[in-house]
Amino acid sequence: MAAAACAAECGVRVGMVDDNPSLGGQIWRGESDGQHHPDASKWVRRVRRSGAAVLCGWRVVHQPEEGVLLAENLSGFCELKYGKLVLAPGARERFLPFPGWTLPNVMGAGGLQAMVKCGLPIRGKRVIVAGTGPLLLAVADYLRKHGAEIPLICEQACWRSLAKFGLALVRWPAKIVQGLRLKFDLAGVPLAANSWPLAAHGETTVERVTVSRAGRVEDIPCDYLACGFHLVPNIELPLLLGCAVGNGCVQVNEFQETTSSSVFCAGEPTSIGGVELALIEGQIAGLAAAGRTREARAWFEKRKKARGFAQLLDRTFRLRTELKSLSRSETVVCRCEDVSYSRLRQHTCWRSAKLHTRCGMGSCQGRVCGPMTQFLFKWKPDSVRPPVFPARVESLAALARQLEGQPTAK
């Protein structure tokens, strides 16, 4: 949104394609009225005023040739031509397998929040929030404000690194204010460090969760388990477009330009740093793509400071090794293809596991189990192949026609 608005305000022709049903990405999902985030409505208004054409509910599945993207929605597909491209595909949650994690109503922490933002009634429901990262507190606070009861927040990091995190926040006073407000709003909700889920139990949906709470095992009844282990950058589309990736993040120069010419990238794919960093990077990318490098430069200092916060997040919420041993032999790791932990353990790399077990070859294309196996077995993902998301046959047929040199239908 920041990139689109800034570029369009420079007078260039801008089109914005968003996989989500409305503007705002994940953090600002359903927030265009600005009820909880005044910044969200400010940016939505700015995008609308800027004259950028907005396509919501469309996902990019392929780049059939340089400068052309193929996108589709429920009713069909279209080709989008570009001179400059800014990618901002955001991040997803990292999930870790433990017995029962595939039960309905065990969701990501951000996942459950997204569902509530999309209308899921949560009033009076008991939600255990578990995993790692600052998102847990934000989610717990959001759910509680919507009437949920939070019996426990389990954070896998230890008190020592959380305390260090708190002290280091001195460099970002706004974050301290945010943090204190969260702490105040969450008064009465137990937050346990050194704690993580061991198993989720239930017949058709989750009914109770066994947790390791600072070394003690406890059984807690619940209606939902919201569980996410920090975030993983969405780098599949940048990889498809040939952008270099290092350490799991898209590599960019000072103007947010990737190694792929005319392709820029902003936000979580370059490093998990939160909404402030994403907005700064988006503005730099939008201005630079529109040729306003001098104005883009004005944001460099702010970006440097915000990037420091990204590094702090990375240090604080590193996963502890105990989390590698939560799975039992029969625990499903790849949800799309129901591949168990014991079947995966027999393999030495991602490719071998894919070829022999179909792990990572289902609908999500390894987006869920890829980061897991990276943590569990230190496997490295393979290259990305088109289409980057499962695509409609109609879209693929159009591609095939194009390869044969025939005109496409649309």
């Binding site: 049903p21 999902r29 509910g57 429920l74 996942g111 929040q113 569902m115 999309c118």
Partner: protein, 85 residues
């Protein structure tokens, strides 16, 4: 715009506030979105279009991520269980 919309989930009507996603309507109807390859019931996991656990058929279009789609009046939603039956 209506403040409420009615969709059907496996033939049964569900009334939801407008702006509700199809995935939420399915959870409110007490249905699992799909059966895994070994037959386990599955519901939404990521809520943001990544995991494909919420895929259902919408008005006969199969394999649609229900978390990324808002309910529209008269929409017919079929979970995988019902498609196979």
């Amino acid at each position: 715009m209506h403040s409420e919309v009615t969709v059907t989930v496996n033939g049964a009507p569900v009334v939801v506030p407008s702006g509700t996603s199809v995935a939420v309507a399915i959870v409110m109807a007490g249905q699992a979105c799909r059966r895994s390859v070994s037959g386990e019931p599955r519901g939404p996991l990521c809520g943001m279009g990544i995991c494909f656990e919420c895929c259902v058929a919408i008005n006969g279009n199969r394999h649609v991520r229900s978390c990324q789609l808002l309910c529209e009046q008269g929409m017919e939603v079929a979970t995988e269980k019902c498609i196979d039956e």
